[in-house]
Amino acid sequence: MTLLRGLALYGGYGGRAVVRGVDLEVTSGRCVALLGPNGAGKTTLVRLLAGVLPAERGTVELLGRPLAAWRRREVAREVALVPQQVHFAFPLTVREVIEQGRAPHLGPWRPPGPEDHAAVAEAIARLDLAGLADAPVQRLSGGERQRVVLARALATRARVLLLDEPAAALDLRHQLDLVAIVARLRGDGVGVAVVVHDWNLALELADELIVLQAGRVVAAGRPEETIRPELFTAVFGVEVEILRGRNGRPVVVPRMADSTAG
């Protein structure tokens, strides 16, 4: 079932289109990875899908209805976003940040109830943050902050999860935790779109890849069909070797400049 759909999306900042005509679907129980060089428009695309940046052309439909027809708070109940960076200007505790994930369900006045407390407690446990729950978030490392923001998104219990480089600062163990979390959410019917730079992580997380270059889709589809060495030469200007890992899953190994020279 299609949860979130972008149709011929154009969007950017100050009249400069960064995303130029992208179609994309986020489907229940599936995960699509967005890949591409720096500045290809991945973050902008995620912002358009979340509705935090209005599209200049094209539409985003949530559950078959254009985003413009939804109230912002209703969208936030269905679509949770993990932005690349959150600006922690104030000394909130980890728990206070994660509790913000329930705000779309509460509105301006309703106090949090048992379901809200349960969602927050579960998110704290899933992201391995119990020991840090009362620490001021400003004192945490980059990876710890990233886990806090991810926990906040999980606490919303939205049907769509949009992740913008959620693993950029995570250590290996917490990257594997992320893979497990996404797998479990997919089992619960959540649709996921994730911006990621590590191809091998993308292959662990996703069952569909979308490769962007200069705001357009240059390759899309199932991983085995999409990953070809020519793609890497054309899009990134690098040579890669594609090996087969366990279960026949592709593994991308870049060739270093000095080894290709020889």
Binding site: Y13, A50, R71, R72, R77, F90, E96, A103, P108
Partner: protein, 324 residues
């Protein structure tokens, strides 16, 4: 811990009330002054305590509450711990407009001074926000620099107005730049109340949204905050608070910066708790500041803005050193 802090806040507020009303009434003991509050005792003491001290105290409390609330709201809205109505030039904008109203309007229209101050504060807020905005929301550094620019422009405007203002009006116009509660009257307090209470209600309504905005605009929008509507309403509320404060007491700095920080240290980040406590603490601090201004170099009376600056500037420097 929080309950004990609430008690301490109540004690501070009561101490400010008692000290402002009862201490150092010329020719009367504290007991006589207390009796005068109930209308008993010598008429001259009653006149001083009820006719002069009480409205002055009420005005100081209301202005302090308004400035602290405006500071707390702006800090959350702009996700900037250094936001303050004075530093961002918002009070300056209000003061310039109020001075212009004093200098140029006919006497009969002087009731418009608070509205003018509010409009000036709103303009200054808009200009500062417009200058500071970037693709990912306002930048804290650019915002402070924008405040410097707006303050420079408004003080140039005020000096020009003072130079050309008809001389009988000069005193009123000058009081606005100095910051003082000396002209307090029961009427002034009543006029100020709507400028305090309506924005306070608005801020409480948007408390949860402002809590989300403290982590930046993108993050808040993703959690369901209608950015444009909240920004517009909260800016207007902050402008009304600052405009009201400036119109009746002139420019008083740093209450809006210092109070929310002190309150956050004790009561944490929850916005509604923060707003209510900030209003009460701002009221108490301003009343105590006014007491210091009256007593420090008695019989000479200092502008209250001098006292708040002496206490606020070191605090600001410390915050600036700690900012990322």
């Amino acid at each position: 811990m929080r309950r004990r802090a609430d008690t301490a806040l109540a004690v501070l507020l009561l101490a400010a009330l008692a000290a402002s009303l009862l201490l150092a009434v010329p020719g009367a003991s504290a007991g006589e002054a207390l009796a005068a509050l109930a209308g008993q005792g010598r008429p001259e003491v009653v006149t001083i305590v009820v006719g002069i001290r009480l409205p002055r105290l009420a005005l100081a409390l209301a202005v302090g509450a308004a400035l602290a609330l405006a500071g707390a709201a702006l800090q959350a809205l702009l996700a900037n711990p250094l936001a303050d109505p004075f530093l961002l030039g918002i009070s300056g904008g209000g003061a310039a407009a109020a001075t212009a109203a004093y200098a140029l309007l006919p006497i009969a229209a002087l009731g418009l001074v608070p509205a003018a101050a509010m409009a000036g504060a709103a303009c200054a807020t808009t200009v500062v926000w417009w200058m500071a905005r970037g693709p990912l929301g306002p930048s804290p550094t650019r915002m402070l620099l924008a405040g410097v620019a707006v303050n420079a422009a408004t003080s140039a405007l005020i000096l020009t107005l003072l130079a050309v203002a008809p001389s009988p009006r000069l005193a009123g116009a000058l009081a606005i730049t100095m910051g003082s509660f000396a002209s307090a009257s029961p009427a002034a307090v009543l006029w100020l109340l709507p400028y305090l209470l309506v924005p306070a209600a608005v801020l409480l309504h948007y408390g949860r949204d402002l809590g989300l905005l403290a982590l930046g605009e993108e993050s808040a929008a993703a959690l369901g905050v209608e950015l444009a509507a909240v920004r517009r309403t909260v800016f207007l509320a902050a402008a009304a608070l600052c405009g009201g404060a400036v119109a009746f007491a002139g420019v008083i700095g740093f209450i809006g910066l210092v109070t929310p920080h002190l309150v956050r240290l004790v009561w944490g980040m929850e916005p509604r708790r923060l707003f209510l406590r900030s209003a009460l603490a701002g009221a108490a601090l301003t009343a105590l500041g006014d007491l210091l201004a009256r007593r420090a170099l008695a019989p000479v009376e200092l502008p209250v803005g001098v006292v708040t600056a002496v206490l606020g500037v070191p605090f600001f420097v410390a915050l600036l050193r700690r900012a990322p």
